[in-house]
Symmetry: C2
Subunit: 344 residues, 2 copies
DNA sequence: CTGAAAGCGCTAACAA
DNA sequence: TTGTTAGCGCTTTCAG
């Protein structure tokens, strides 16, 4: 089944002009007579002519498309970030191609390379939990493909980055738990490769230190699949509660991680006893039981900012060499799940 | 900033062949000598040659891309459906372009036409709540663009459709509420234009009828923006509870609708008194308070099935004229929110 | 077995 | 003001 659209040629033939005249008329070139323009425009309208963007891309070496790689869209943070991305891209005349890595390094690579080959003008990337080797990204970047990282960033590539203030977000969340009289705060986090993991861990440690609580390595659990594998989290929790130093509170470091951990805790009937807070952008934290204390990232803003920077990169005439990392504030929304510890 | 990839020409020049020889060698044509092939392949590998898909599309009039239009990805049903779509598309060699209408008819049209112009090989569409005029879709379809509808379908276009069994899903949910001794069951639903709205309403009515409960028009509230505008739902609820016949239970007809309604009810402190169930694919219904009784759609399956049918349509040599509508079963997951009515 | 040339839809330098 | 032509990267007749 083919599906044909009218071309410039059709217009030219019908009106007895050359294709170049039609082309120019269509784009309102000043060197075309008003009559011709009018005739062409009218006829084009009549047959519902649409320029073929593929041909345009081939010619102009640009597609006006930007590619996005996230771990998954069924994640409150990313779906909100994507809305931010779209909102900017849309009125800058770009369209957005979304792909999911599902936290798989291989899938991420395939997606990126597909989009690069397909000729996106630039890439918005949030690195997957399992990715360790990002040399393929580095190659593309060195070849001149504009890339902006958001949320999960890397030091290995020098470009714009947009992140939440993970350090402070984690710091405040942890300190909040401390103020609520929790002392043995476990931290469940994602793959240690990720920037967000390190930053949030650092914030957690800093809060402990400030309040003279010794850091205990066994209270930190890494889930290298970022919560995609529920058993991983279940194991982590089991270990935590089997250890001699049992946690009295839990602080989780990612959207999926938070929701899944919360669910497991509830099933384990541990819910009542432990304080709980975590990074998540869920809209329904207040509907949970107990209502969830959360660290919320400015996902929409992050998406918008990253896109603005990317478009800037794409459209800049001369290579940009000075890059900044934008850090946006998180907010701590305090609800029931982190309520003051009840003395035993 | 441009970002250049090696072309066939580069290979030809380096190896002193014509571009056609290189092209043939690359695709392993039988009429090329083994030596030549080997040389070309090796060199291509060495410089990391990738065929330019844009040029290919221009030539072959196909892109191996399928376009998706949903109202929003931050919706459990759609993000799960998209995962189903991707899973099939991916291993059939298609890539997936996702766009969101945000329930806006205009945005939907822009997206569809952009993708059509951009040359997707086919479209997977779930109609937006605000769409009334879909003649532009009809046009494209008549011109030969393969389209499969899923979830929110239309009678106006004859093609494959994949939906959940909305009628039975609504029927069972309503009947369940009736069995729990609720008698005045309100129905909060989306735009009356949508197929899912009609089907679910019919199921609701049928259950009432079966149990000899008179249908009361004032208990049905239409939110034509499908829950995108919270005030709309808030107004609906206020009206319901101000009326002389107050509902003792509520049945909601869509993912977003369900979550938002539940949240508002909770804020209104009406939660305790009314039975509640609704269509939603949330994964965390059991974490809510009260835990949510839900009608769950086989979103992943719907996505997969729709994609299989679309690929079939795209790849079929001769036009297909016999279309079916696949109807997949929903499941009712019973939890606390619909617990038996406490007698006053 | 290999090359020259045309063409997919469009733009732009060059001619007229 | 308009037409001719070449070319973007690739495939594919048609000729050797």
């Amino acid at each position: 089944m083919k599906f044909e659209s009218p071309t410039i040629k059709d217009i030219a033939k019908a009106l007895n002009f050359s294709t170049s005249t039609v082309s120019r008329a269509l784009r309102g070139s000043y060197e075309i007579s008003t009559d011709t323009k009018k005739a062409v425009l009218e006829y084009a309208e009549k047959i519902n002519y649409r320029p073929n963007p593929i041909a345009l891309s081939l010619k102009e070496r640009r597609t006006r498309a930007i590619g996005v790689v996230v771990s998954e869209i069924a994640n409150n943070f990313f779906s909100q970030a994507i809305n931010g991305i779209e909102s900017i891209a849309y009125n800058r005349g770009y369209h957005v191609i979304i792909t999911q890595s599902h936290e798989s390094a291989e899938r991420e690579k395939v997606n990126v390379e597909h989009m690069a080959a397909r000729g996106v003008d630039g890439l918005l990337v949030s690195i997957s939990a399992e990715a360790t080797d990002i040399s393929y990204l580095k190659d593309l970047h060195e070849k001149g493909l504009p890339i902006v990282f958001f949320d999960r960033v890397t030091d290995e590539i020098d470009t714009y980055k947009v992140v939440a203030d993970n350090y402070l977000g984690a710091f405040h969340a942890t300190e909040h738990l401390i103020y609520q009289d929790y002392k043995k705060i476990a931290h469940i986090t994602s793959s240690p490769h990720l920037s967000i993991t390190r930053e949030r861990l650092d914030g957690y440690k800093a809060a402990l230190e400030k309040h003279k609580i010794p850091f205990n390595e066994t209270l930190v659990k890494y889930c290298s699949h970022g919560g995609m594998i529920e058993a991983e989290i279940e194991d982590a929790l089991t270990e935590l509660f089997k250890a001699k130093v049992k946690p009295d509170a839990i602080f989780t470091a990612g959207d999926r991680l938070t929701i899944v951990t919360f669910g497991i805790l509830k099933r384990m009937k541990q819910k009542k006893e432990v304080g709980f807070t975590g990074f998540t952008n869920t809209q329904v934290g207040d509907l949970f039981s107990p209502a969830l204390t959360v660290v919320r990232q400015p996902a929409f803003d992050i998406g918008q900012t990253a896109t603005e920077l990317l478009v800037q990169l794409i459209e800049s005439k001369r290579p940009i060499t000075e890059f900044e990392t934008r850090i946006l504030k998180t907010s701590l929304i305090i609800r029931e799940s982190s309520a003051k510890k009840v003395p035993l």
